[in-house]
């Protein structure tokens, strides 16, 4: 009985740490760490390995007016900032100086200039590269977890704190023991 209580207490106390351990363990099992060894070390994980498939076709349809249109530039930047550069390490095509990213930015601009909405442009890139191309996962289905969990924690934590503070303030007023110490830290 005592052991049961102690253990459950320790468990709660360490739930946080254990959860992260479990997260990483669960995440690794399907592929296995060892199995990663033969992969190209430089290629970003999850990127299509065939570089031929990475290419995008710049159409060259932009008029001079469109090339110098600041409103179109801003829209292009905002879409490009949400797309991952396939040959870089987690940087958007807006930020990447690589040649492929520059071409992809041009494609984004061309499609926006031709009247596509930002979502349609993103869908085009998803169809070409997969969901992986979005730097921010779509907030739907399983992905909702990553959006919701932090706020669940904050909300739960606040409720818990409110409860604890209420309980602790209604407890017997503290003795003068610590009050005499100077306000030194």
């Amino acid at each position: 009985m005592i052991w049961h209580r102690r253990l459950s207490r320790g468990l709660t106390a360490l739930a946080a740490a254990a959860a992260l351990g479990a997260l990483s363990l669960g995440a690794i099992s399907p592929r296995g760490l060892g199995a990663q060894a033969p992969e190209l070390p430089a290629a970003p994980q999850g990127a299509p390995q065939d570089t031929g498939a990475l290419r995008v076709q710049v159409q060259g349809t932009l008029t001079d007016a469109q090339k110098n249109d600041p409103a179109l530039d801003r829209l292009t930047s905002s879409v490009a900032a949400q797309l991952r550069c396939p040959v870089c390490q987690g940087v958007s095509i807006q930020d990447s100086p690589s040649e492929l990213a520059q071409q992809m930015r041009t494609v984004v601009k061309e499609q926006l200039a031709s009247g596509k909405s930002p979502d349609e442009v993103k869908d085009y890139f998803i169809s070409k590269y997969g969901e992986w191309i979005l730097l921010e996962p779509k907030a739907s289905g399983f992905n909702l977890l990553v959006y919701a969990l932090p706020w669940v924690l904050v909300a739960g934590g606040l409720v818990f704190l409110a409860f604890v503070v209420k309980k602790w303030t209604s407890a017997q007023p503290a003795t003068a023991g610590g009050a005499a110490r100077a306000d030194d830290d």
């Binding site: 468990l11 990663q36 994980q45 940087v91």
Partner: protein, 667 residues
């Protein structure tokens, strides 16, 4: 020769660590002081042996001894001496050697300074330190062995990763990171020592570990800021933080450590949160190992990921062992850890610390979950997803803004209970400054709710924290008739921990302002220019003078000279470059930055015509970015003030060999 010396030093160090870790508990059981001394000697010997191995590896690098596998992997005769030496941490195996050395150094120092303390806390801490050392030795003998023989011996090697030899900050960022990361092993060891010796009910483990914690935290902060700076100066995209998985890995333990630095004050003053503080320390240590696992196993791709292989299993096993052991130790001590919570009023500094801890923990979880989510999603759905900058920015902004606010409220709230009138007086300077900041940012054209809030709270926090200095100094001026400056100096010197903390706050505010300003007002433009042509970005005019090329020892450089104009006068010459390394197909872009206190002109060379007739450059105006680096230094200054030996805490916090009973007799 060198190879065998280093390899054998590690083998012996492994044996010594193991022996020491077995001997110390026996010595404690049997009450043998002489064996205890012998166990401590194992800690020192371990340090000497790892030092020998590390120096031998550096010697191997410097003398281009390509019969050593690590040297053959990262060395090259063309690399300048300086970069040859720092390539010690340029790849997996060498970085583990360096880690083991820093750990051995910390272990030896921690044991040496506390060797005279009575009780079993320090011996058990020594066991912990030896066991962690042992783990890294096993890595060096197994999956990360840098001392394998190479035959036939190659004449030359490929040289270190060009990105790592492209900037001087690479000499600073990794050592700082290791000093920070590894440093948390010491307070963790004291925590374990306290749990194993049953001394966990007293605050001694916190006091013994305090300076180590503050120092490690300072190193880690410096490392993170240096990493941001490196990324800004080297990677060419004009940003300083990309929420790269390994940046996150360094940030996650920083968050728990920061929470810990604050929450221990509640324990020391009010005797509460004992269990929580213990868990924060264990968590911080585990998160540093997890961070290393993420970096070194290559499981999550990033700028920093080195290699793949079996090393990940070792880290996972180690994390598992630490977690299970910690679980049992905490469970075994749960009766001693029970602490009665009592608060006098909901509005008090205690409550501010509780909320601060909640927010820091939530922040840690947000970053952790976001970092690991691609793995989870792939495991659960079989679909590859990315979790990058836009996600982290969106999720962390509210938390950061709330923390800025708390940083302004906390110092103004007294312990126990806040009285309305007094509180008003303490908050007023902050409110005034905050409103001024907010008006300033709106006047400058900032419209986003978060940027206005960030400036409002930054000003607020700056006001209340500065006010603490002014109020304290004024009191001294009145009481002692000192000059204001002298009063300020004496005030800080007499209360280092407190004012070190406020100094760190002010540094964090500078960082926050730099980040908020640069993300709100950053302006960038790309243009193709012919010689003599100019372009203007955010009111700054740049003229393209010429393009040039030159041959350097280990690389070829193509550059463009741009002139930052002030009317007809040339204010500064800026030279963005592309560096071509023989081992690398793609050039390494090397931006050039001119800093002023108002902001930076950041130039990247994007493309050039071979005949120099035109170049394409990207120009970014980055307002207030230098304040991030200045703020980082101020935070470190705060950590130095807070960790500096002496002051009012002398004798209270440190058990010196001469007065071991002192620490025991503390209330």
């Amino acid at each position: 020769m060198t190879r065998l010396l280093a390899y054998n030093a590690i083998i012996v160090a492994t044996a010594i660590s193991l022996l020491g870790a077995v001997l110390l508990p026996v010595a404690i059981r049997r009450g043998r002081r002489d064996w205890l001394t012998l166990g401590y000697a194992a800690v020192y010997t371990n340090f000497v042996l790892v030092t020998v191995a590390t120096l031998a590896l550096v010697w191997g690098l410097v003398t281009h001894d390509f019969s050593i596998s690590y040297v053959a992997q990262v060395g090259s005769r063309a690399t300048p001496l300086f970069f040859t030496v720092i390539s010690l941490w340029g790849a997996l195996e060498g970085s583990i050697v360096f880690w083991a050395w820093v750990l051995a150094l910390y272990g030896a120092a921690a044991v040496y300074f506390n060797r005279g303390r009575e009780g079993h806390l320090v011996p058990y801490a020594a066991v912990t330190l030896l066991l962690v050392s042992l783990f890294f030795h096993v890595l060096l003998l197994g999956p990360a062995n840098p001392f394998q023989p190479v035959f036939p011996v190659p004449f030359d090697g490929p040289g270190p990763n060009p990105l790592l030899q492209n900037h001087i900050l690479m000499a600073v960022h990794p050592p700082l990171l290791y000093l920070g990361y590894v440093g948390f092993t010491v307070p963790f060891a004291f925590a374990v020592g306290a749990m194993l010796s049953g001394e966990v009910a007293s605050d001694d483990w916190i006091r013994l570990g305090r300076r180590w914690t503050v120092a490690s935290w300072g190193f880690l902060t410096a490392a993170i800021v240096a990493g941001m700076w490196w990324s800004y100066e080297v990677l060419g995209w004009g940003g300083y933080w990309a929420w790269d998985p390994v940046e996150n890995a360094s940030f996650i333990p920083w968050l728990t450590a920061t929470a810990y630095l604050h929450s221990v004050m509640v324990q020391e003053r009010r005797g509460m949160l004992k269990l929580w503080n213990l868990n924060l320390m264990v968590g911080t240590f585990v998160l540093t190992i997890l961070g290393t696992f993420l970096t070194r196993s290559g499981i999550i791709s990033s700028v920093h990921a080195f290699t793949t292989g079996t090393i990940g299993y070792y880290f996972l096993a180690f994390i598992g062992i630490v977690l299970v052991a910690a679980l049992f130790m905490v469970a075994g001590n749960s009766d001693r850890l029970a602490s009665e919570g009592r608060l006098d009023a909901p509005l008090s500094r205690e409550t501010a610390f509780l909320v601060q801890n909640l927010l820091f923990t939530a922040f840690m979880f947000t970053v952790l979950i976001g970092t690991l989510f691609p793995l989870v999603a792939e495991a659960a759905r079989g679909v590859k997803v990315s979790v990058g900058e836009p996600f982290f920015n969106k999720m962390s902004l509210p938390l950061m803004v709330a923390l800025l606010f708390l940083m302004g409220v906390g110092p103004a709230l007294p312990w126990r209970k806040a009285a309305g009138e007094e509180l008003k007086g303490r908050l007023l300077p902050g409110i005034v400054l905050g409103v001024l900041f907010a008006i300033g940012v709106v006047a400058a054209g900032g419209r986003g709710a978060y940027s206005v809030l960030a400036f409002l709270f930054a000003g607020f926090a700056l006001g209340t924290n500065l006010q603490e200095f002014v109020r304290g100094a004024n009191a001294r001026v009145k009481a002692h008739g000192e000059s204001f400056v002298m009063a300020l100096v004496r005030l800080v010197a007499a209360n280092r921990r407190r004012y070190g903390g406020y100094t760190a706050h002010i540094g964090v505010i500078m960082v926050a302002v730099g980040i908020a300003a640069s993300s709100t007002f950053k302006t960038e433009q790309e243009a193709t220019l012919t010689p003599g042509q100019t372009m203007t970005v955010a009111g700054h005019t740049l003229r393209f003078k010429n393009a040039w090329g030159r041959q350097e020892k280990q690389r070829e450089v193509i550059g463009a000279t741009m002139e930052w104009m002030d009317g007809d006068r040339v204010r500064a010459q800026i030279e963005p470059r592309m560096n071509y390394y023989p081992t690398q197909q793609e050039p390494v872009p090397t931006p050039d930055v001119r800093s002023t206190l108002r902001g930076d002109i950041y130039l990247s060379l994007m493309a050039f015509k071979a005949d120099g007739s035109n170049v394409t450059v990207k120009v970014i105006w980055e307002p207030l970015v230098p304040w991030i680096w200045i703020g980082g230094m101020v935070v470190c200054l705060g950590a130095i003030v807070g960790a500096w030996p002496g002051g009012r805490e002398r004798g209270r916090a440190v058990a010196t060999p001469a007065a071991p009973a002192l620490a025991e007799g503390q209330p």
